[in-house]
């Protein structure tokens, strides 16, 4: 058992009670550091300890835990991300959403590895965090402001320019749009905690922003982490060339080429090459990108700014690949300028482009099939680019049909007869761009994902390289171990691109070496993977206690299980129910879960989770 906390940790958790403004500081138990590492793991532990199993995600009993990793603000590359952990108003289960920029590094220097927001402020407020603690500042004047405007207004009020690192919600969060996100505008790059409705949780707490000021804590790695990071640099830069030049938008063309890029609400998965070109990274780079942007301590610099004169847009965040799927290809909208406009609106208003886009595409198919009509909304034809832009504002403001879109596709489907067959998501969360039919690892990965439709539980990257994309053989184990990899990475809070590009796509020796250099521990690669496994099981335990994780919940939408991809290179691929059943059986057995998908007592013991299993 670890006795002392390695000096790479700030050592404390800051609890902020929004109703009273009181704060408490809790020391980090060294044993928790060893078990959960940081970031994702720490946030999940806070949710397990503080959120009752029957708490309403949009009620005061939910918490929002903002956490950083052990190596944040060290030379270890791109551990610049932060994690927001909470119970999601989309899935009613544990959710963690990460974001980049400069705020997480600033948080690390305050010495608070986790800042936990409890309760609900009486009036619209922002939370100021610094090395001595936090204050809850009433800020009624921020009501209705967009995300960027809020960041700026808070910076002005604090008077330290970009030395105040702000994460803010927009009108969508204030209006509790279920998939509202939050956005951090730093001097060098925006960071968006996109998924799961963290913006709605903040909105429900009357928190418009969190503002962090740097402190004096300097994490001290025990070994030479700088040298070790430099050793990975060549591999990192070679493997991330596409990201450096095109950002994630560079994925549009190749994935369309594979016939695994959803169009028309997933009715087909390939469009003509000209359409893909029209919304591709190559085109964005040639015609719209004005500059590269980056998170703290990152050489890859995958961020880009775009300007579109005709739309009056200057230096907006480039639409990411996932957003191009949600707002372009899935809508059959290939007018890139309108797509950029819709994305910029989502960023400003504070909405997740994936869940919003997939929800709009779902509504459009319901319209096409006669379940909705023009009286519901005049913007529901596939291909209607102007309508798409209109719907963004209506959704964020919950105006007219936007009020229904604001609930997400699953809640809409519950109100519409025969609409479930058009859903594309799991456990209440819409899927990201990586095909649930065309990639077998995603089929089982999405079905068992803690977050539902997230591409950061099981990763698609290796599948695009021909591993576990077309076969179910060994794929359940692959999906589970990939989930260990992502839970570990999000506990380290290392950027996934940098980790996959420079350090390895599964948990491997490199990670053990880096963690040991940082902490002075002596973990072998199995022990390091076990941290990811432990965090993943902790999330599963939270969700099982909330009644949202069992055999019945581990499923895929109708189309994925019943309608093969109709044409293109991946023609015929899908995941029929019997295939999912047999993969689930294998997956549960590998994990040490019972037939209902719950961790057994032995598994809980093996992973040293007895105390948290009891807490949930």
């Amino acid at each position: 058992m670890t006795e002392t906390l390695p000096p790479v940790y700030g050592g404390e958790i800051l609890h902020v009670h929004l109703d009273s403004g009181d704060t408490e500081i809790e020391p980090i138990d060294p044993d928790d550091a060893r078990r959960f590492l940081g970031g994702n793991g720490f946030a999940a532990k806070q949710v397990a300890e503080h959120v009752p199993a029957d708490a309403d995600p949009l009620g005061p009993d939910n918490v929002l835990a903002m956490a950083v990793g052990p190596m944040n603000a060290t030379p270890f590359q791109s551990t610049s991300r932060g994690v927001l952990g909470f119970v999601s108003p989309m899935t009613n289960g544990f959710f963690d959403s990460t974001f980049g920029g400069t705020l997480p590094r600033a948080q690390k220097t305050t010495g608070f590895e986790v800042v936990v927001l409890h309760g609900r402020a009486d009036e619209l407020s922002y939370v100021r965090v610094h090395e001595d603690g936090a204050e809850v500042e009433t800020a009624q004047e921020l009501a209705g402001l967009e995300t960027y405007e809020t960041c700026q207004a808070v910076r002005e009020r604090e008077g330290d320019g970009y030395d105040t690192h702000v994460l803010a919600i927009g009108p969508a969060g204030e209006n509790e749009v279920r998939y509202a996100c939050s956005l951090h505008e730093s001097e060098i790059r925006e960071g968006v905690a996109g998924r799961g409705g963290n913006g709605a949780v903040l909105g429900s707490k009357n928190v418009k922003a969190i503002a962090v000021t740097e402190g004096s804590f300097e994490p001290e790695p025990v070994g030479d982490l700088r040298e070790r990071s430099i050793q990975q640099m060549g591999r990192l830069m070679a493997d991330t060339e596409m990201l450096q030049e095109y950002g994630t938008a560079g994925l549009v063309n190749p994935i369309n080429e594979m016939g695994k890029l959803g169009q028309r609400n997933m009715q087909v998965e390939q469009t003509d090459p000209e359409n893909a070109e029209a919304v591709s990274g190559e085109r964005l780079e040639a015609e719209y990108v004005t500059e590269d942007t980056t998170c703290a301590n990152c050489a890859v610099k995958c961020g880009k700014h775009v300007s579109v004169e005709a739309e009056g847009i200057t230096q907006a965040k480039i639409p990411e690949f996932e957003s191009l799927f949600g707002t372009a290809t899935l809508q059959e909208v290939y007018d890139i300028e309108r797509v950029i406009k819709a994305n910029d609106l989502c960023d400003r208003l504070g909405m997740d482009t994936i869940s919003w886009g997939v929800t709009v595409a779902f509504a459009r198919e319901c319209y096409e099939k006669g379940l909705l009509d023009d009286d519901d909304s005049p913007h529901l034809e596939f291909g209607d680019a102007d309508g798409l832009v209109e719907l963004a504002t209506l959704t964020a403001n919950r105006e007219g049909f936007g009020d229904e879109l604001a609930e997400g596709s699953f809640r809409m489907a519950a109100e519409l007869e025969d609409a479930e067959r058009y859903l594309y998501g799991a456990k209440g969360l819409e899927f990201a761009a990586h095909s649930a039919r065309g990639l077998k690892g995603m089929s089982i990965g999405y079905a068992t994902g803690t977050r539902g439709g997230s591409h950061h539980d099981t990763r698609p990257t290796l599948q695009y390289d021909g591993n576990h994309d077309e076969t179910t053989e060994g794929t359940p184990e692959f999906a589970a171990r990939s989930q260990h990899f992502t839970a570990l990475g999000d506990s380290l809070t290392q950027c996934r691109f940098v980790s996959e590009g420079g350090w390895g796509t599964m948990v491997e020796e490199n990670y053990a070496e880096a963690i040991n250099l940082a902490t002075g521990w002596d973990l072998d690669v199995e022990a390091v993977e076990r941290i990811g496994e432990r965090v993943y099981n902790l999330e599963r335990l939270i969700n099982a206690a909330r009644g949202v994780a069992d055999r019945e919940a581990d499923t895929l939408p109708h189309r994925v299980m019943n309608e093969p991809i109709p044409d293109g290179p991946a023609e015929g691929m899908y995941c029929p129910p019997e295939e999912l059943d047999s993969m689930l059986e294998e997956y549960y057995a590998f994990r040490g879960w019972n037939d209902n998908g719950h961790p057994t007592t032995d598994t809980v013991e093996r992973l040293e989770l007895e105390d948290v299993a009891e807490a949930v």
Binding site: A238, E257, E282, E322, A432, H434, R496, G501, P569
Partner: protein, 94 residues
């Protein structure tokens, strides 16, 4: 035989075109095609093949399917095949 070649991202930049149609020996393998492309386009030299294997910095699709699902670098191509060459496909942000 004639192949339809499609290039993406950094590969496209090096070639200066997004598509090409080119004649190859009937039954040419992926390796032969990549080698010929390396000699035809000096900017690609050393980027498509790593010794006898496909370089880790590229992904090759035959008619949209990753060539590992055929015979990898040994895959024999047939007239009219579409060969797409792209940097490796990573997994998207979010």
């Amino acid at each position: 035989m004639e192949l339809e070649l499609r290039f993406f991202a950094t590969v496209r930049e090096a070639i200066g075109a997004s598509t090409a149609r080119r004649e190859f020996r009937t039954g040419a393998t992926v390796r032969e095609v990549l080698a010929e492309l390396e000699s035809a386009y000096p900017a690609l030299e050393g980027t498509l093949l790593d010794g006898e294997e496909i370089a880790p910095s590229i992904t090759v699709l035959r008619n949209g399917t990753h060539v590992v699902h055929f015979d990898g670098v040994e895959t024999e191509l047939t007239d009219g095949d579409r060969l797409s060459i792209t940097p490796p496909v990573t997994g998207g942000d979010g």
